[in-house]
């Protein structure tokens, strides 16, 4: 029985190998432990041990990546979001239970949990959560609400615990979201940016949900409890003030810029989005015209070139 294998030594970097689960990627014989055909197991693969040899087998459908002896398979399915501690995510509350909110980060996956102890109480006081607090949970966040949060902990089974214990996190209002494959959002130092001449605030959720709203006035406070109050007041002010038609058109343009990048499967970064936005202005495109296929191709040309 012969196996079609891609041995680490023979796979050239220029050729992309698509492999299916169960396909053998590499074989190293046990009789020669110092041999040249040994490998390191990367993600997307597992090792199958037989009496005479170790086999590296793909566990996902994807493209083989190889760095020296490390062989991994990069999955082609992009819907998977694997949370890491510290990720900024944007999710939607799906249910409220006695001690926690359930937050949907990506559709058709297990919801993450936001415990009552993981949120700031209104007014920013630090104290134990009482039974009254858990009765009032719905007044703070209810089903359907969008929240920004940080991944606090990943649990054994892969489910996530979130927290919003910072002035920057919490309920999102008066703006819109775009959902892109999580893979398109690279992890950055800062996922909360103000872009395009301080016009918009954008939250690049690591789970692929991007929240955008018009920029709130700058918060240059020194800290302390008054900061929290100030922040809360600003938030309410922002949420209750309707957008002007001009602001709304600009926001729609930003949304469509992100949508353009999603359609051509390019990384959605601040730079790329700004570029598409500016190009659409330079070409004098109507906001809704941006999603006409010919224009999508034209607008995203630099981004596609950059990614090769």
């Amino acid at each position: 029985m012969s196996h079609d294998t891609i041995s680490p030594s023979s796979s050239s970097s220029s050729v992309k190998h698509l492999v299916i689960p169960g396909q053998i990627l590499a074989v190293s014989s046990l009789s020669d432990p110092n041999g040249q055909d040994s490998f390191l197991r990367g993600h997307g693969t597992y090792v199958e041990k037989t009496e005479t040899e170790d086999r590296l087998v793909a566990s996902v459908l994807g493209i083989v990546q190889r760095v020296n002896k490390l062989v991994s398979v990069e999955s082609v399915s992009d819907g998977v979001y694997v949370g890491q501690v510290g990720d900024l995510v944007v999710g939607r509350i799906t249910s409220v239970t006695s001690q926690r909110w359930k937050v949907r980060l990506i559709p058709h996956a297990r919801d993450a949990a936001l415990p009552l102890s993981g949120v700031h109480l209104p007014g920013g006081v630090q104290r134990m959560r009482t039974a009254q607090d858990s009765r009032d949970m719905r007044s703070y966040l209810q089903e359907g609400d969008l929240v920004s949060a940080e991944v606090h902990k990943t649990q054994q089974d892969g489910s996530l615990l979130l927290h919003t214990r910072s002035v920057r996190y919490g309920k999102l209002e008066n703006g819109c979201i775009v959902t892109v494959p999580p893979k398109l959002i690279p992890r950055r130092k800062n996922h909360f940016t103000t872009i395009l001449n301080q016009q918009f605030q954008v939250l690049w959720g690591c789970n692929g949900v991007i929240w955008m709203q018009r920029a709130m006035p700058d918060l240059e406070a020194t800290g302390g409890p008054e900061l929290v109050e100030l922040q809360e007041r600003r938030r309410v002010e922002h949420a209750s003030m309707p957008l002007s038609p001009e602001e709304r058109r600009n926001l729609a343009r930003l949304r469509n810029a992100i949508e353009c990048l999603r359609l051509v499967f390019c990384r959605v970064t601040q730079e790329a989005v700004e570029q598409v936005y500016e190009t659409s202005l330079a070409l004098n495109l109507n906001v809704s015209q941006m999603l006409v296929p010919v224009n999508v191709i034209r607008l995203t040309e630099p981004s596609r070139k950059a990614e090769g």
């Binding site: 729609a252 469509n256 999603r262 906001v287 809704s288 296929p293």
Partner: protein, 354 residues
Amino acid sequence: MDDSTPLLSRSEMDFIREGCHQNCRVDGRGRDEYRGYRIVTEGSMSHEDNSSTSNPPLILSNGSARLFEAARHAHEDVSLHMLCSVKAEVVHPSALHPAQGAMELHVESLTSSGPNSQRRKTQDELEATLSKLLMRDLVDLEALCIVPYHYVWRLHVDLFVLTAGSSHGSLCDAASHVIRAALQCTRLPAITSSTATANESHNGLAKASFRNKNPLFPHGGVELMVDGDLAVASPPPGVNQAPIIVSVTVLANSEVLRRTPVSAVSVAPVLILDATPDEEACAVAQVHVAIDRSDGSNPLITALHQSRQGSLPLNVLTDVCAIALQGAMSAEAAYVIRPGRNDLGLLQEQFLFQ
């Protein structure tokens, strides 16, 4: 709230309603703007030049068409993708309508996401709505009669929703266009009937003999001659009058009133076309208007159907009809019918050319 409507926060609903009111929706469209759709049908309508005659989406059907969103990513199933097949057969007419052809519509949703019960529900809803609105007017049933009391055509229209994606909002609209496109490229072979019993075969004519089994007419032997030549095959009669559906979504205005100065707002509800699911979630009512545009300057409303629970004052209905009639024109432009060789996404095609 049932499963099929997306979960939205109050703030998002306000945002969507205000946007519609300001004539700038979340994706930048105006109230009466359509997204782009493509319909791929058989190569050429006239069968004279064989070079451009190419594979229709389904080669075993008498007519077929495929619809997808113009802006779509080739590997994602988040955009709309529909397939329509028309199959024709010769049957005995029903006793009630002996001189009428028959037509059957079947909708199947093959979307992979969501629970089964929900999928079945949307499927049944779509089938019911389409049947109510379209079935009477799609083709001229009387002209589908071959020999009264003996043989008539029966058309099976099968609609497959492969992916419903983000636009399942306007499934009815899209469905009406793809059905119409499929019917327009349907070819029914020419059939001549005779009572002659002669058995010699003619040149180029395949002769099929269907003996009448109708017990009412034991002696009426009718013979049908099916002409196998595609050049004389014709589309089902009356298909050019097939209506299209324009769904007008009615958004309440009370929420807008709550947040903006009263003087700046007209009290009439906001009407939009080609709604997204999010917009439908904010709607109080939706009216599907079937419009026959065969007489270009003078479109004709053939049917109305209201879905969702919200009540609709009668004066709004006149606005709805006016918007729908206007929308029918832009709908024609939004759904581009293109005889195509392949069914790739448009974006993918663009890349192939580069």
